[in-house]
Structure formats: C-alpha cells, structure tokens
C-alpha cells in the first residue's frame, strides 16, 4: 500500500462518519515500510496529485510512521510553466514519499472507534467483522 493511499482511506464503520476522527487512520509505529526506487517519476502526474493531497493528513500519517520532517504547509511550486530546480527537488521528494514508499506489513486503527485494520503483504483489509458491519 503506497503512502499516497493513506490520504484517501477512512474507517469503514458508517457511524464514524459522524466524527472528524475517522480520517486519516492512525498508523502503527511498527509498520514495516518499503522503498521502491524503480518506480519512475512523472512530474506532470505528481504535480496534479500533489494538488489533491490533504497535507494535514499526510503530515499526521508520516509522523505516525516516524517521519517528523514534513513542513507544516504544503510545499508550493513556483508560478509559471517552467520548473525550477527547487520545484524539481520538491517533486522528487514527493514522488519518493507518496509513490515509492509503501507499507508492507502492519496495522492501522480508527481514531474514533479504535477498530484495527491489518496490512499484510502490502494489502490493507478494510472489511468489518459482522458485529460492526
């Protein structure tokens, strides 16, 4: 599961929709991460994706996983069509974080109801047990 995916995942429990705590999920600090350097960077793709990223949620998840180095505000690219060196550095960093980093094993839980979801072999399981479904 790519780190970017965490930016789109909330708790499956419907009742948690009434709270503001069901997104993002809380990621266990012991989650096992993997870096896949072989995924090529497509700057145009990444710029569009970055626009859609909920930055606060990303900062929170990265922090859960032990990365406290993200700035509090979403990095902004320079205006104009041409990419500066600074822009390219931002794009590379974001590609590395959002696309190349994935969670292979571990667990995450809802900040509202506390339900735990497992990630195995890179696949998160968001199914609910019958009593919560």
């Amino acid at each position: 599961m790519k780190l970017l995916t965490s930016n789109f995942l909330k708790c499956s429990v419907k009742a948690c929709d009434n709270s503001n705590e069901n997104f993002p999920l809380r990621y266990d600090a012991n989650c096992q991460l993997q870096q896949d350097e072989s995924i090529d960077c497509n700057p145009e793709f990444l710029i569009n994706i970055l626009e859609r990223v909920d930055w606060n949620a990303l900062v929170q998840v990265a922090s859960d996983l032990g990365n406290k180095s993200l700035p509090p505000q979403k990095p902004e690219l320079s205006p104009g069509d041409d990419l500066t060196d600074d822009d390219l550095a931002i794009i590379r960093d974001m590609h590395s974080l959002l696309i190349q980093t994935s969670i292979v094993e571990g667990q995450m839980s809802c900040r509202n109801c506390g339900h735990v979801y497992y990630i195995k072999n890179g696949i998160p399981n968001l199914l609910l047990p019958p009593h919560l479904a």
């Binding site: 995942l9 499956s12 997104f23 995924i39 793709f45 569009n48 890179g122 696949i123 968001l126």
Partner: protein, 269 residues
C-alpha cells in the same frame, strides 16, 4: 437474508474460483478503456469490485484504488502487478474518502447484490465517493444477450444462478480391458468353448460395472467442481432506473458485450 445469500453465492464462490477466474479475465472492454483513457493526467479514481485488477493498469497516468470483497481476487491482482493499489473492502462499506474522486468504475459487480434495494444502495454508495461533477461508469450483465451462447433474453427470470466449472485437477483415465490369458489346462476339451464364452461374458459384465462406477464418480466430481454465482440480469432501461433511484444523473448509456452500462454523476451536488 440477502447478506447470507451473497455470502454463499458471491463472496465464497469468488474466493474459491479466484485463480481460475483470474486467468480468464485479462482483456479490457473498449468502452471501459476509453473511459479511463479520457481522464486527465493525475486524475484519481476508484475501481469498485476490481477483481484481478485488469483495469488498474490501462492508463498509467491515473491514480486508481481498486477494491474487492474477495481477498482471493485481490491476491491475484497483487500477484499480477504488485504496484497496483488494491485493498479488500465491502462495496456497501467502502473506506474511501467521500466527495473526493474524479471518477469511479464498477464493472460487472452491481448485478451480484441480491435485492434491488441493495443494488441501488451500492450505486448510491459509489456516488458518495465522487467529487461534484465526478463520473461513475457502471456495467451490469444484460438480460438481452441473444447473441451469446447462454441465450438469455427478454421475458426470462432475471435472478439467476450461473455455474462456474472449475478446471479439472487431472485428466480422468478411462477403463481399459486388461488383457487376460484364460487358463484352459484343467478344462475338458469339449467344455472349453462354453467356458471361454462364459468367461468373456463375465469379463464384459465386470467392465460394464467398472465403466458405470467411473461415470458416476465423474458426475460426482463434476458437481464438486461447479460453483454457482448469483446474478441479477438487467433488462433494457433498468440500470438507468436504478442509477436515478440512487440519486444519480445519467449522462450516457449503452450496451457492450452482453452488458448494459451507464455513466452517472451525482445529481445532488
């Protein structure tokens, strides 16, 4: 009740047939491929009921999260391409953020819910995931498929169980007559002809019995190797009705490969 039926005739079956099913699902349907290829660079979407993920790689310039109720099929997707973004989730309890996605596809999935109420709820649930103006492409198996070998057509029962025959594990062998020398040394000469004829008759009976037993066994195995999936076959116009009942505005409809499809957006936004 509906949940139990879906558990038995959809969820369990797909987990059991997943590897074989996956082998047969690799060719993207043209309308779906066009829909995905018409999305702009960096668009984000969901594939609800993605199966083995055959649509997740059609357009590499998209970020698509595929989900399926069957962990077996998601396992297949992950084995086909570990870069696919997949997760296991129920179509009526999707964990994706609401009001967020540019597009959604759900191909040959909604027809598996066993009541109209639940099929409409499933479509409505997909629509909640779209941003305003976001579009969903939904495919369901058609009742009108006169061209296909199954021959379903107007007027037939729409709620059906469709057999899936699993691949045989190994070829079954047929009975061969064992060449057997008859020992005639202790038989008086004038009785030998009758003795041989009786022996042959006995042998034929034995063979016939063995053959019958084998056929019975093959029938038993065949029934063990068949799984039944529930389908609601959509008649002309029905998918559009369900999309509207789900609170959607239908932008386009059509028919492709024995399926009805509809492109829908949320009407409430």
């Amino acid at each position: 009740m509906a949940e139990l039926k879906e558990q038995e005739y959809v969820h369990r079956v797909y987990d059991e047939i997943a590897p074989h099913f996956s082998e047969t699902r690799y060719k993207p349907w043209p309308v779906v491929a066009n829909f995905l290829n018409s999305q702009p660079m960096g668009a984000i979407g969901i594939d609800v009921g993605c199966g083995n993920g055959k649509y997740l790689g059609v357009n590499p310039n998209l970020f698509i999260i595929g989900s399926d109720r069957s962990s077996g099929l998601i396992q297949c997707a992950n084995e086909i391409n570990s870069r696919y973004n997949v997760l296991i989730a129920d179509g009526l309890q999707l964990p994706h953020k609401d009001g967020t996605f540019d597009f959604a596809i759900s191909i040959a999935v909604v027809h598996h819910w066993t009541t109209r109420e639940r099929r409409i709820a499933a479509i409505a649930h997909i629509l909640t995931k779209l941003r305003p103006e976001g579009q969903a492409l939904i495919y369901c198996w058609a009742l009108e498929q006169n061209e296909s070998r199954r021959g379903y057509h107007e007027g037939m029962e729409q709620d059906v169980l469709i057999p899936w025959v699993l691949k045989p594990k190994k070829p079954t062998k047929s009975v061969k007559a064992a060449p057997e020398k008859v020992d005639l040394s202790g038989i008086p000469l004038h009785e030998r002809a009758q003795y041989v004829s009786e022996m042959k008759k006995k042998r034929r009976q034995e063979l016939r019995k063995e053959q019958e037993e084998l056929e019975q066994q093959q029938q038993r195995e065949a029934s063990q190797d068949t799984r039944y999936r529930f389908y609601h076959l959509y008649r002309r116009g029905e998918l559009e009705e369900d999309c509207k009942a789900a609170g959607g505005t239908v932008i386009g409809t059509g028919y492709e490969r024995d399926n009805w499809y509809a492109i829908v957006k949320s009407a409430t936004k």
